[in-house]
Symmetry: C2
Subunit: 457 residues, 2 copies
């Protein structure tokens, strides 16, 4: 038995754990920081879908760099922590003891599979999108000589994986419960556009349906079809279950740490558990929505990174005030050359949460004049409170600039800015980079909302 | 003599005038809005440099659309207003009288030429970058069979024009007074990068020098060289004076409207002159800096558009609170495939203004992982108040996403956000669109500043 001593122990080497460690070292340079992670090689989670298509083409191109952590003098161990004693402040790794002063759980998430389909994972040809390199390589290799793929789940992981396989010439069908794809992030009129682009790449979408059975006709333990609730049977060689993720909390739970909603580890705004020496960040922590304050299942590396920064700064007292409370579910995806971004609540979500909102949409182009050679259509929708005018949601379709434009909208939402603040905001516009100053879409959408509120419609 | 009646008269059809008119009509749909502009065809001012290169290739592709104004029922007259009687509320256009209730001066700006070089404009081959289509066409035609071009002025118009001509194979030299190009927007370490990229395209930069004489060796009224303060003589067939613009205020001045600094029309925060029926917006209005509150010469269509929105909403009373006071000088430019963006004050400007600042820079890539095929370097510098930590300036070098990323920084500056707010902000990150969540450059630069302030360095 070896006794390892550190000041701050981070369990998990994904984005949340990595950022926690780096931030801790920046804030407390004299503390010993130790990261324990399960896998020798850590994938960049958001880019996993691109391993399967032509964008990256292999998982070796999707390996996260640990260079920054190493340069900063952060120690790393590869292994699985079996148990944690939060009273004695010891984590047990194989035969070794790690003694810590502060502990950060960053244990991430694993694919969620509906109980009725769990047994299907025993069949050859049935996969989930795990964040484990070996697993991803296995799916990639298995798919090489197959033609037919069914993706169950129409969230962004399902859609991105489907599109990547389709660009390699595979015959891909996505099956989702919602009318349009990406329903958690986009209202129907945008989800519909995303769906059209996905179908242009050759992916078929079957919506408002669900898989009730994964079939092995020949009894040889190899999948060859799925049966849907509607009765449809779809022949396939591969089934990918992209039906979300669940927090990895067994370790924390066994250590007596309390869980919150959706089985995430309960934490306060500074990512502390009830025991202020124990923190949790990233997908393993319980989240709630920034606007509705309801429990949230949103799992994004960007949110995890923001949490890691807060935890890493708050280990030995509150270093600065945290700017937000709850996830704004801000993210982007791409379908071929079209980017789709969303932040905050959609109009449909607002309605379900009982929020009286007014929406404004503006359609233009992402260059000015529109004759600039690479000009693409750009569409912005904003969702605002009728009372107060605060912007609580935004959705964009456009070119690659969309990825940063949504961060502007994110800041607007996070700061509770109203449409009036946005209407007079100063923006930079450049012919080759943005829409025209006279019709900058975020400003125009805010303007349209102001008109509606003014007229009482 | 014709008597024309309107409620709101806008003099000028550029971005400021156009946005004023559209906003006025949105806010006051029952009012008659009339725009009087001097030219039948109005160019999109920011894209004028692209007329000369391959991006647009001709001015016909740079014509501003009036479709939105026409659809909304905004009337337009082409002509030059000779005089305005602000007491009688009459503008005189040729033989006609335009009676108005509210007047918005949006008369724009014309090229500024140093007094010592004014006579040079009489020589054949000497041009300014006017916003008049005929003038732009004349330069474009004249340049067709010429090889040698000298651009005087290293601001963004000078640089963009130089780069466009260089991509057409011309031999272009830019002459500027500052050590590096774009000095008003970028600190030396960024200006240096811009300069290197400009030189890669084949443009030569001569800095810390100035043109003292434009030479017509043969006495045939055709330019063939310039002489610099340093004594250098540079042979050339074309001289383009891109030495800034001055407000067009003769009309307003003759009407007895007071001017402010740098000869712009004095206006309050709502773009009203002392007479609240008379407004001024855009380049013809006097501006000051958002941070230093000193008079500003910044002229940008985006700022003009923001002012137009404020004026158009405030014609009959203050409709909503204006969100800002002073220009944050937010703009972007491109040199080939590299984008350069800036907002607020530079480190050098802060120093000159006596502001105690701390800066943070972060260098990374605009995709994640860096193996994503179109990944480009991305560099962000933030300038923050040592006391308080508010971010008062930002500069970016990167890919096309830079054009929207600077708008996030603009909002941060305009809202007086501090580094702590930025450090915990939630951003969307996507492999094909942005930097990694773990090292989003705006957050990282803020983090570096926080460390420096904390350590007192």
């Amino acid at each position: 038995m070896k006794k390892i001593q550190c000041d701050v122990l981070v369990i998990g080497g994904g984005p949340a754990g990595g950022v926690s460690a780096v931030t801790a070292k920046m804030n407390y340079p004299h503390k010993e920081i130790l990261v324990v992670r399960e896998h020798e090689v850590q994938l960049v989670p958001c880019a996993i879908p691109y391993v399967f298509g032509e964008t990256l083409g292999c998982s070796e191109k999707d390996v996260a760099s640990c260079a920054m952590a190493e340069e900063m003098g952060i120690a790393t161990l590869v292994g699985k922590v079996k148990n944690v004693d939060t009273q004695k402040k010891i984590a047990y790794l194989n035969e070794d003891e790690i003694h810590f002063d502060k502990l950060i759980f960053a244990t991430g998430s694993t694919p969620f599979v509906h109980a009725s389909l769990e047994h299907a994972l025993d069949l050859e040809g049935v996969f989930t999108i795990s964040k484990n390199k070996d697993f991803i390589d296995k799916l990639d290799a298995y798919a090489k000589d197959k033609e037919e793929i069914v993706v169950v789940g129409s969230g962004f992981i399902g859609v991105e994986v489907a599109v990547e396989f389709a660009t390699k010439g595979k015959n891909v069908t996505v099956i989702g419960g919602s009318k349009h794809i990406l329903e958690n992030a986009f209202d129907g009129e945008l989800g519909n556009v995303a769906e059209e682009h996905m179908e242009k790449v050759g992916v078929t979408y079957i919506g408002e349906d669900r898989v009730v059975e994964v079939i092995d006709k020949n009894g040889d333990n190899v999948v060859n079809a799925v049966k849907l609730k509607s009765g449809k049977i779809i022949d396939t060689q591969i089934v990918i279950l992209a039906t979300g993720y669940k927090p990895n909390t067994t370790l924390a739970q066994n250590a007596g740490v309390s869980l919150g909603h959706y089985q995430g580890i309960w934490v306060d705004e500074y990512m502390r558990t009830a025991n202020h020496d124990i923190f949790a960040v990233g997908d393993c922590s319980a989240r709630r929505d920034f606007i509705t304050k309801e429990p949230s299942k949103v799992m994004l590396a960007s949110t995890s990174s923001a949490e890691g920064r807060v935890a890493g700064s708050s280990l030995y007292g509150i270093h600065y005030l945290k700017g937000f409370s709850g996830t704004i579910a801000i993210f982007s995806t791409m379908i071929q050359e079209i980017a789709f971004s969303s932040a905050g609540v959609t109009q449909a979500q607002a309605k379900r949460a009982g929020i009286d909102v007014v929406v404004g949409s503006f359609s233009g182009v992402n260059r000015h004049p529109a004759t600039i050679p690479d000009a693409q259509e750009q569409f912005v929708k904003l969702v605002a409170m009728r009372n107060g005018g605060q912007i609580i949601g935004g959705q964009i379709i456009g070119g690659k600039e969309t990825g940063e434009m949504i961060n502007l909208i994110g800041m607007i939402i996070e700061s509770h800015f109203d449409i009036y603040k946005v209407m007079s905001m100063q923006v930079a516009t450049q012919p080759k980079l943005t829409a025209a100053p006279t019709s900058y879409p975020v400003v125009m959408a805010a303007h349209i909302i102001a008109q509606k509120i003014h007229k009482g419609v």
